[in-house]
């Protein structure tokens, strides 16, 4: 097995114009969540009011007025002129972000043109949702407005196919190795990086651009709103509150995270700036037939599998921590069952920027790399009050986990960014379908 280094990173983050602003806001305990005017315009049809999103001014991408009415899909324009129009013609918003972030990560990595365009360079990028805004417009034009198929435009397939993000990045950077998408719902971002790690570890590629992206789409948010799993009634900055006893749902967010992975020995030999080393990756399934509920057993097996890959002694566990009623408790009890009540901290970055769905795992790997760089634990905002009573499932005979309430783990959850020595971080993400992913990352 080859050792794998992370040598570049970039992304698109809610309420931020670039990586530097993201880093500054994260470690100064700021919330990146805002009220969303578009949601408000639908009044009571949508329960939640808040989201994590970046404006066109922040991302640098705006819709290009192509002379057609609003009901037609729009082309995108890169205000900076960095992404050529020929590439934007085949991409949706999430793919455009993936292209921009890939160029940023590659610049960070310092790869040569020859290296980028080689057979040993791969692209693995996924997303959580389908075609979304563009697809809705195309379908409406055909099914509701009775238009001929050619009126729908020739780019709908490349803008909505499952691996559109990987494909658009690959066409931009012209690599000749692997180009694929991993899809595992909210574990997609970490799953993509995990798959890319394996490609290098098993000697199939020397370097891989990997991550997840989730373009802003009201169509995505309303699906989760319909499930009544989104946060309501709190102010934007208080709405994502993992582990707090008053949490009532997650905050739907949008963004993109891309990292550049490279064979460690090669990266070291060329003097690359190594942001982190991937110690191991493991993923599995709950196997209980439940699409939505988290599984203590599945997560225990996840830890066991990760521990078989590498030595695990984390200073920080970067939790999935979505702020949903059922997810958070099972996760924290699962972590505590493995690591005990002290000696490490739990970081919950969704408390600051919400849940970026298919991008979440990748953006949170970037947060973890920033924690390694700054030697600071990012906070768990709004975890003000932890439940002092047992959860009902803890009183059942078949419960195998900790027998204390959430409040017993107060010292694991810093409410403000915390400086301390950090050598290893375990990143956790889970997704609908009972999929679980875990990755251990260390300082070089």
């Amino acid at each position: 097995m080859n050792k794998v280094a992370i040598v570049g990173m970039d992304g698109v983050f809610p309420h931020c114009k670039d990586m530097q602003e993201f880093e500054e806001k994260l470690f100064s305990n700021q919330s990146l969540i805002r009220n969303w005017d578009l949601v408000a315009s639908y009044d009571k049809k949508i329960r939640t009011k808040v989201a994590g999103y970046a404006t066109p001014e922040e991302t640098g991408f705006q819709k290009f007025s192509n002379g057609l009415p609003d009901e037609y899909p729009m082309d995108l324009e890169d205000i900076s002129g960095q992404i050529p129009n020929v590439n934007l013609a085949t991409s949706d918003l999430g793919s455009a972000w993936a292209m921009k972030a890939s160029l940023g990560a590659i610049k960070d990595a310092g790869w040569t043109k020859e290296e980028i365009e080689s057979e040993e360079t791969g692209v693995v990028i996924g997303t959580g949702s389908g075609g979304q805004e563009g697809t809705r417009k195309v379908w409406n034009l055909f099914f509701e407005h009775g238009k001929k198929t050619r009126a729908l435009g020739s780019s709908n397939v490349s803008r909505s196919m499952i691996y559109r993000d990987a494909a658009n990045v690959s066409c931009l950077i012209k690599n000749k190795g692997v180009c694929e998408a991993i899809g595992s719902a909210c574990a997609t971002g970490l799953g993509s990086i995990g798959y890319a790690y394996r490609l290098i570890a098993f000697g199939l590629q020397d370097r891989v651009i990997a991550g997840g992206t989730e373009g802003t789409a009201l169509e995505t948010l309303i699906g989760f709103d319909a499930m009544q799993v989104l946060s309501t009634k709190f102010s934007p900055e208080e709405s994502s509150r993992p582990y707090d006893k008053d949490r009532n749902g997650f905050v739907c967010s949008f963004g993109c995270g891309i990292v550049a992975l490279e064979n460690y020995d090669q990266a070291k030999a060329r003097g690359a700036n190594i942001l982190g080393v991937i110690d191991g990756y493991f993923n599995n399934s709950d196997g209980d037939g439940d699409m939505f509920a988290p599984s203590f057993d599945g997560q225990q097996r996840l830890w066991t599998g990760l521990k078989k890959q590498t030595y695990i002694n984390p200073d920080v566990v970067k939790a999935h921590g979505t702020s949903t009623a059922t997810g958070d408790v099972v996760e924290l009890f699962s972590i505590a069952a493995q690591l005990g009540k002290d000696g490490y901290h739990v970081s919950a970055p969704k408390s600051q920027f919400g849940h970026m769905l298919g991008a979440a795992g990748a953006v949170e790997v970037i947060v973890s790399l920033l924690m390694l760089k700054k030697q600071m634990v990012s906070p768990c905002l709004n975890s003000d009050n932890l439940k002092t009573e047992l959860e009902s499932f803890q009183t059942k005979d078949d419960w195998q986990g900790p027998k204390e309430p959430l409040a017993a783990y107060r010292n694991l959850l810093p409410q403000l960014a915390l400086a301390k020595p950090i050598n290893q971080i375990v990143c956790l993400n889970y997704g609908f379908g009972g999929t679980n992913s875990a990755m251990a990352i260390s300082k070089d």
Partner: protein
Amino acid sequence: MTREEILKGLIEILENTPQVDSSKLKNVTEKTDFITDLEVPSTELINVIAKAESKFDVEFDDDDIDDLGSSVSGTIDLIEAAFKNQ
């Protein structure tokens, strides 16, 4: 609508097509070819024809589009014929 007015309308469509280099649009005539002269990608040419249907409020026959080629004059012929068939 005259052929000059149709040409002007086609140029407006091209001006709103990000993939087309606007500097190439200064000397477009009926003799211009969308693909060889203006370097419009063939996938984008489909969109230009569809936008022309929307802009001029006409509908082309599928077979006519299959036989169209990529000349500006042929496209103007097609639009003119569609007007006459209305």
